[in-house]
Amino acid sequence: MTPHEPVAPGASPLAGPGTPEKTKLTIGFIALTDCASLVMAHELGLFRKHGLDVTLSRQPSWAAIRDRLSLGELDAAHLLYGMVYGVHLGIGGPRQDMAILMGLNHNGQGIVLSRQLRELGAVDGPSLKKVIARGGRRYTFAQTFPTGTHAMWLYYWLAAAGIHPLRDVNVITVPPPQMVANMRAGNMDGYCVGEPWGGARAIQEGIGFTATTTQAIWRNHPEKVLGTTRAFVERHPNTARAMIRAVLEASRYIDIMANRDRVAGIISAAGYVDAPAGLIAARLRGEYENGLGRKWQDPDCMKFFNDGEVNYPYLSHGMWFLTQQRRWGLLQQDVDYLAVAREVNRIDLYAEVARTMGIAVPQSPLKTERLFDGVVWDPSAPQAYVESFAIRA
């Protein structure tokens, strides 16, 4: 800034009551297409614009992200929605009060089945059920983290077809980049994962096909979030606001479809997703094929903004993951679903920032939704929802 430029009062992010308490940040991410808004906020200089000096740090596992958030080596991270709740409640590991600042994306994950399963006649849930019922051997499916989103999509989809994910099949946890290799080696028969490790890769290598996209399970479902510990937000509320603002601007940029090839090119770099740009770009543009001969343009491909609908951390979304964790026995008892979601999802901070940017904020943090099996998720009755499922732990 030159001395001649007039400075509008309050316009500088480096002055006034909104000054970030901590400006030098390390934000963790996993090599997946849906880390795009964090990468673009960095590459477009949006973090800097809002007074933050951010280092993006690629992490080898979700476990490493959790530990480094707890130890303070990471200030915030790209996180699986359900995992944040798992850590908050201490499921399968250390308990740590967590905070979700905003949603990062909707849609864009997939369930892939092996070529062998197709040869046996499994092309969708109902036909997979028949193959499994025939017996002969036990089938193994993989997800990416026990409390994460892929585990919940996989379980929900199997159960909707009458397949009990904890009794009728084996489920293992496999790091995303290893999915394809594991299926090629015959260690598993199917998996749920995010792009670019989902369908595109498996189809290209001829080892499997996309049985369903996750947007076909739940149109515009919540997926990854920007999260941190509650302690971080309490100590650095302005830093949290600045992160939300920068990532919202990046999200808006990515959802302009004309920008998506450029986004794919940038995030495909070795330091980020480290995968061929073409592979990332096609599905970011909504160009899908399932490996069984069907090609389509998907209007519900991965979304990053959708006028803020993606980013508002609906309490009902957090509650949904809790109901599924309860359903599958990860949570041993019922919890006060709404109260826990209120602890974790910082709708206050998000709404404050979004309003100043002219981005719509929903009137209610609770939204009723219908998934692909026709079952309605009514957040006013979470316990009844859990109990309504015939197939559960």
Binding site: P60, W62, A63, A64, S70, G92, P146, I172
Partner: protein
């Protein structure tokens, strides 16, 4: 019992006397990408009285190894992607080790941090004795600290040797090309390095590179 283990651990780490653990037994699995350093760790743990039930490379079937070997505790490379596979087992039930981020005594948090900085992440079954857990992490941490020191010393020695060779070579070139005495050549090199604010070895390297391209 716990207090005894605690004191023993500190004493033994200080004295590098690991024999005092002989009486304790805990089944430990090591998962690591670097097989050499892992074998050394396995030996250290064994001499400290831990039963190392297996050493698995992360490219192997980690899921299967844990199910078959049934360890009480696992030491794994902090940056191994296979850690998520362990997380998947940890939620199944009490028989599988869970991630450890804190020890029960809050003063020991620093030990877990130190271990993480050295690249060690620990998993242990519920009910694993806190004293024994502390010992396990302390022994592994001390092992890697010693190893790192040795590695650093080795690297330093190698670097010094390499620098000496480069300087000698540059000196020899000056002697040959300029007809200088060895001593004059050395002083010339030192003066040039000082003028350019470079280390002697850096200057020698530059000189040799330039000589090679001209």
């Amino acid at each position: 019992m716990q207090a005894t283990c605690h004191n023993h651990a500190q004493a033994s780490v200080r004295a590098h006397n690991l024999q005092s653990y002989r009486r304790m037994s805990a089944r430990v699995l090591i998962i690591d990408a670097h097989s050499e350093r892992t074998q050394q760790l396995a030996q250290t743990l064994a001499s400290a009285g831990f039963e190392v039930v297996g050493v698995v490379e992360e490219t192997q079937d980690v899921h299967d190894a844990v199910r078959t070997l049934r360890p009480d505790a696992i030491l794994i490379d902090v940056d191994s992607p296979s850690r998520d596979t362990l997380e998947g087992l940890a939620v199944i039930g009490k028989r599988f080790p869970r991630p450890i981020l804190m020890l029960s005594e809050s003063t020991d948090t620093e030990l877990v941090h130190d271990a993480a900085r050295l690249g060690i992440s620990t998993y242990a079954v519920e009910g694993f004795s806190p004293g024994l857990l502390r010992s396990l992490i302390a022994v592994a941490t001390a092992h890697f600290q010693r190893q790192r020191l040795l590695t650093d010393e080795l690297e330093e020695a190698q670097q010094a040797l390499q620098d000496r060779r480069v300087i000698d070579k540059a000196k020899y070139r000056l002697v040959q090309e300029m007809g200088m005495t060895e001593e004059a050549a050395y002083h010339q090199l030192r003066r040039m390095a000082m003028e350019r604010g470079l280390k002697l070895a850096e200057l020698a390297r530059l000189l040799l590179e330039r000589g090679a391209t001209s």
